[in-house]
């Protein structure tokens, strides 16, 4: 992959922007199109692009496979844990209003949606990266004539 100078330079500029855009989509999901699913996929796409350009091993050094396993379980636990937290506060499962019952602008709902979307982001991004690692590790690196 060393001779693809243009690809490497462009990818180096693009990857941080892709990751930044993922977080924009994540936290702007209340106001415009977007949310955890889309942000997770975009974040995973940044890692996948890095792996395609700089090699799978470099990507595994940056985002170790153990993070993937931890991330996918953390996301589900965060989502489910939000529901359990509402239980303990005395409301129904995933009834976020209980987080700030006095609020006049539905702050509780906003907190709940934020937590839940973070869980979705964790799981989706980790699973996508994990699937790519699983498939990508079973074959040799792309040879130059495949490009």
């Amino acid at each position: 992959m060393n001779q693809h100078l243009i690809l490497r330079v462009v990818a180096k500029i693009l990857i941080p922007l892709i990751a930044l855009f993922a977080f924009y989509v994540q936290f702007h999901g209340d106001y415009g199109p977007g949310g955890g699913f889309q942000a997770g996929v975009i974040l995973a796409a940044a890692v996948v692009l890095y792996a395609l350009i700089f090699g799978l091993q470099a990507a595994k050094d940056a985002i170790p496979p153990s993070w993937v396993r931890i991330g996918m379980t953390t996301g589900v636990l965060l989502y489910g844990g939000t529901g359990v937290a509402t239980w303990f506060l005395g409301a129904n499962f995933l009834d976020y209003t209980i987080f700030a019952p006095e609020s006049t602008h539905s702050a509780g709902q906003h907190y709940g949606i934020l937590a839940v979307e973070l869980g979705v982001l964790c799981t989706v991004a980790s699973v996508m990266v994990g699937i790519f690692y699983a498939f990508g590790s079973r074959q040799p690196e792309l040879s130059d004539e495949d490009w």
Binding site: V25, G29, D30, Y31, G32, P33, G34, G35, F37, Q38, V41, I42, A44, A45, V48, L52, K60, D61, P64, P65, S66, V68, R69, M72, T73, G75, V76, Y79, G80, G83, F93, L94, Y96, T97, H105, S106, Q109, H110, G112, I113, V116, E117, V120, T123, V124, S126, V127, M128, G130, I131, F132, Y133, A134, F135, G136, S137, R138, Q139, L142, D146
Partner: protein
């Protein structure tokens, strides 16, 4: 709802492009081109979703359909063949009839479809309109889709997250996070256990930890079921593998 002529023209041309891309996907033998055309198909349908004002769906289609799934299909294709073998026409006749009959049934059903944007359609008349009206007071987020997805239908979204988690878990159990599932070998108590992998990689050989664990476990239980062992093994092995990968 009135659709202006340019929008109608654009919708028709987008649908025509979808049909052309679909026919090209069926006709082509080069799997690389097929995967790329699937990405094109996803992008064109994303544009069409935008024209239908379903921006969130379009976003998802563009990110998942054109982005990630193209990469995943490519990496799956690299494990398989680059070209598809031509299938004789006789073998395709059965599926051809299924497609024709299903297509005719769909054309028959078009007459019962509600008009685009019909306020009395089933999707708009029931709980959908109630969500749109209540979001302004109950959730107070500008994007109603987010409110419905995360708050009103939070339980559904929880299910979807768990489905994605299960998909990832299944892939990891089948292939292994490092692609090493089915290739591990070990000799606890002197007997060989493991798949028909060609050789133990030196990385695994230098790790005495998992072997020790099982011998300790087998000492505790004198009668160890031979079935239980291979299940316990890959877990500890992949763990040590992942750790080694993370350190290097």
């Amino acid at each position: 709802m009135d659709i202006t002529v340019p929008v109608l023209f654009m919708n028709i041309s987008l649908m025509a492009m979808l049909v052309i891309v679909a026919v090209a996907i069926v006709r082509l033998r080069s799997l690389f081109a097929v995967v790329m055309l699937q990405g094109v198909y996803s992008l064109v349908s994303a544009v069409w979703f935008v024209s239908l004002d379903a921006v969130d769906v379009a976003f998802t289609e563009a990110a998942v359909g054109a982005g990630i799934s193209t990469v995943l299909m490519l990496s799956a294709m690299l494990l398989a063949d680059r070209t598809a073998k031509p299938i004789p026409v006789g073998k395709n006749l059965g599926s051809f009839f299924v497609v024709v009959i299903t297509g005719l049934a769909m054309f028959y059903a078009i007459a019962d479809m509600p008009a685009y944007g019909d306020p009395h359609s089933a999707a708009n008349a029931g709980v959908g309109m109630a969500y749109i009206e209540a979001t302004r007071e109950q959730v107070q987020v500008p994007n109603v889709v987010t409110a419905v997805l995360a708050s009103y239908r939070g339980f559904d979204t929880f299910g979807e997250t768990v489905v994605i988690f299960m998909a990832g878990l299944g892939i990891l159990l089948l292939l292994g996070l490092n692609g090493n599932a089915g290739k591990w070998q070990a000799q606890p108590n002197g007997q060989a256990i493991g798949g028909p992998g060609p050789s133990i990689t030196p990385e695994v050989k230098t790790k005495p930890k998992p072997v020790k664990k099982t011998t300790a476990a087998s000492k505790r239980k004198v009668a160890v079921k031979s079935k239980a062992k291979p299940k316990a093994k890959p877990k500890s092995k992949s763990k040590s593998r992942a750790k080694a990968g993370g350190k290097s």
